[in-house]
């Protein structure tokens, strides 16, 4: 009689204790991964959680295969669910999670082969597991939970009086998500490295590559339909595809109506130079990229213009060390000589020079400040 009374009082106290906590708090802990048993509960979540057992799960995956590690997570979760007791409100989410883990189990077997041969880097696991990470729900005390067989998300509720089953379900789902995230960790790292490389190459292209004028940008931007095949054939193939265009800077590009300036050495006893303006009408450039920057090779048809005499037609050659042009002979005071022209990328130089001047000024000011100290 006394024992029954004591049990009832204890149950009442626990109930009051749980009710004092907010279901919203448990939902928040579930979403952020701060899993904790309700105050006064005997539930021990540590044997399941990824953060507490990461080394163990990893060792298991590497020695007995990833399927064994997933099985271990599920077994620990099931054991805790047994301890937490039955919550009728959690039946739907529990069934959904059970089904999802079963589905992923099969997909993992198909991707990882027969254990224990397991190489995480070589694993081609490509199944959706995003729903295993519980998310914020529009209602307090509820989280968005695993998908059912018809691919709709279930709602996991945290009852004020008996949240233990929901807490364990959440911990099991999050731990499974963390495990699958670890499996694709190398892929995520490779993706980040790939985008970092694209940005590095663009920086090199903008800094050292042959600049693009407004017109060149426009014709390379696929706005001109079939005309692109004539004006920018290097870009046209990508324009005709429905696929997204690659993000990397161009490896092949067209030069079109590109103005530049240069100097032409005069091969006579004076040893002087003549200034020239040049327009490249059409050309093709090839860029290659590595950690040191960009290297450009290419050729274009161009015309040079001098302060005296008629324009000269010829060709411009792009090399990693600079641009040099060969143009037809001319008459006049400098006539009869081979016309060799070295050009500068005027278009790119404008912004580059401004940066250089600004940096120089800043350095000069800094030096003066240091000097005055």
């Amino acid at each position: 009689m006394l024992k029954a009374l004591a049990t009832s009082i204890l149950a009442l106290l626990l109930c009051v204790h749980f009710a004092a906590a907010q279901p919203g708090e448990w939902a928040g802990q579930c979403v952020t991964g701060a899993h904790a048993a309700p105050p006064g509960s005997a539930l021990e979540l540590d044997p399941l959680l990824w953060t507490a057992n990461r080394a163990d799960y990893r060792r298991l995956a590497l020695t007995a295969g990833p399927v064994a590690a997933l099985d271990s997570i599920v077994a620990r979760g099931e054991r805790l669910l047994g301890e937490a007791g039955v919550d009728p409100a959690a039946t739907g989410p529990r069934e959904a999670l059970h089904w999802r883990l079963l589905e992923l189990h099969e997909q993992l077997i198909a991707a990882s082969g027969t254990p224990p041969s397991f190489d995480r880097a070589a694993l081609r696991f490509s199944s959706w597991f995003g729903d295993l990470q519980p998310q914020v729900h529009a209602s307090p005390g509820v989280v968005l939970f695993a998908e059912t067989m018809d691919e709709s998300r279930t709602d996991l509720r945290f009852p004020a009086d008996n949240p233990e089953a929901a807490i364990v379900l959440c911990a099991l789902s999050q731990t499974s998500h963390q495990f699958f995230s670890w499996l694709v960790g190398d892929q995520l790292k490779a993706i980040a490295a790939e985008y970092a490389e694209v940005v590095r190459d663009w920086d090199a292209y903008v800094r050292q590559g042959y600049s693009m004028t407004g017109i060149e940008r426009f014709v390379h931007s696929c706005h001109l339909g079939t005309l692109t095949w004539i004006l920018a054939p290097t870009a046209a193939r990508g324009c005709n595809s429905d696929a997204l265009r690659p993000l990397a800077p161009p490896r092949l590009r067209t030069v079109l109506l590109h103005p530049s300036a240069g100097i032409a050495p005069v091969f006579d006893s004076t040893g002087t130079f003549r200034s020239v303006a040049a327009v490249e009408w059409f050309g093709i450039l090839h860029h290659s990229y590595d950690e040191s920057g960009v290297r450009t090779w290419g050729a274009s048809l161009a015309t040079t213009y001098y302060e005296q005499g008629r324009p000269r037609f010829g060709g411009m050659f792009h090399t990693p060390w600079g641009r040099v042009g060969l143009f037809e002979r001319s008459e006049g005071p400098y006539g009869g000589k081979l016309h060799l022209v070295f050009t500068f990328d005027v278009w790119g130089l404008v912004s580059g020079a401004r940066d250089t001047i600004r940096r120089s000024l800043e350095e000069a000011v800094e030096a003066r400040v240091l000097e005055s100290r």
């Binding site: 953060t51 995003g130 990470q133 995520l188 980040a192 940008r217 426009f218 993000l247 401004r354």
Partner: protein
């Protein structure tokens, strides 16, 4: 175990000369202050600013309630162009078959040069500016995700995308690339996406904007739990081309799935009002389109707080925070009730209700873009 909130800026984040902004004046300072205000109002942990390129995690990164605010910049792609444009009008000639009239206008007004040129370049210069911008967005997102994963290995990390204005188009295009990376898709790339003043449908094909991979809460979507789309009642920019404005479920493009997402509250439209600024800042009429004003609006601030803390707020909790009355302490626009401002309100309403036909021809949307900017500039003068 941080929650990473990526802030992706809209137009006008760069400078007129193309030179970098002075330290402390960067575009993200004001939106960051807005997020800080939201965090302090709802008693969340203090947001930590984490800039792309950072190699060490801020202190407290492993705490479950840690919040990282990551500004994603891509305006360098446009600044590079502005830096090289000695003669502004001639520099923009040829871009997107712009007319002489628009080129002159763009070049002669500072506000248009800093703001509208970004939109024009992003749309027209697909060969360089758009690619650089996209690569920078993706680099910023993946780099900081790597930092979080290395700082707290195996811990729960959540990612939230908050995009503003042109940033919506930039992010939409960037995420279209991320769709091709199965590891990012399969783990659930972002829990929530706050799309503020979304202009993506004006600049991108509709099948990209309303694609399956963006339908929140759907299997295989990049957005696992919620897309919150906000428009300010006085902001003309989300109505650039009224027939194409962002309206998931009303366009014959995955219509049923979008409507399903809306009925389950995975997609929500947030109608925002009022013009306020973070503490110690002064709001201006231009802020109807401002990033911080959107963040501080009642539905966005509350939604953001709920996502950052990891759970919806109950009525009792809102009462404890003094919500929404506490918003009244924020600096508000003084002239909002003046007669002149009422005329602005009417002008914006006329603009939004314009019945435009046709697709996104450059001169149509550019004209509309400049008109929208001028509406706000006129309001600024009157206030």
């Amino acid at each position: 175990m941080p929650t990473i909130a990526y802030l992706v800026h809209g137009m006008g984040a760069g400078t007129s000369s193309g030179d970098p902004r002075a330290e402390g004046e960067e575009w993200y300072r004001t939106p960051l202050k807005a997020v800080e205000w939201v965090a302090s109002t709802f008693s969340l942990s203090e947001p930590q600013l984490v800039l792309p390129g950072t190699t060490t995690a801020p202190p407290g990164a492993t705490e479950p309630d840690a919040i990282w605010v990551v500004p994603i910049s891509y305006h360098e792609a446009f600044d590079e162009f502005r830096r090289g444009a000695q003669d502004r009008a001639s520099a923009v000639q040829g871009i997107g078959s712009i007319t002489d009239f628009h080129a002159t206008k763009l070049a002669s007004q500072e506000f248009l040069w800093v703001n509208c040129l970004d939109v024009l370049l992003w749309w027209a210069d697909r060969a360089q500016a758009q690619k650089i911008a996209t690569a920078r967005v993706l680099e910023g997102i993946t780099e900081i995700d790597e930092l979080a994963r290395s700082a707290a290995p195996g811990a729960v990390t959540r990612r939230i995308l908050i995009t503003h204005s042109l940033g919506n188009a930039a992010a939409t295009y960037a995420l279209s690339h991320l769709v091709g990376d199965p590891a990012w898709v399969n783990r659930g790339a972002f829990s929530h996406w706050f799309a503020l003043a979304n202009v993506a449908p004006f600049l991108l094909p509709l099948d990209q904007v309303y694609r399956q991979s963006f339908i929140p809460g759907k299997r295989g979507s990049l957005i696992t739990a919620g897309l919150l789309h906000a428009e300010h009642e006085l902001d003309p920019f989300p109505h650039l081309l009224p027939p194409r404005r962002f309206r998931p479920g009303s366009i014959a493009m995955n219509e049923a799935a979008w409507n399903g997402a809306a009925s389950r509250h995975f997609y929500r439209f947030l109608d925002t009002r009022g013009i306020v600024a973070p503490p110690e800042k002064r709001p201006s009429p231009l802020d109807v389109h401002g990033f911080a004003n959107y963040l501080l609006s009642e539905p966005v601030a509350r939604g953001l707080a709920e996502v950052l803390r990891g759970g919806a707020l109950s009525d009792e909790e809102l009462d404890e925070c003094g919500w929404p009355a506490c918003r009244e302490d924020l600096p508000a626009l003084r002239c909002a009730g003046d007669a002149d401002f009422v005329r602005v309100r009417e002008a914006v309403r006329d603009y939004r209700d314009s019945d435009l036909d046709g697709g996104p021809a450059t001169r149509v949307w550019l004209e509309r873009l400049m008109t929208a900017a001028e509406l706000l500039m006129a309001a600024e003068e009157r206030c």
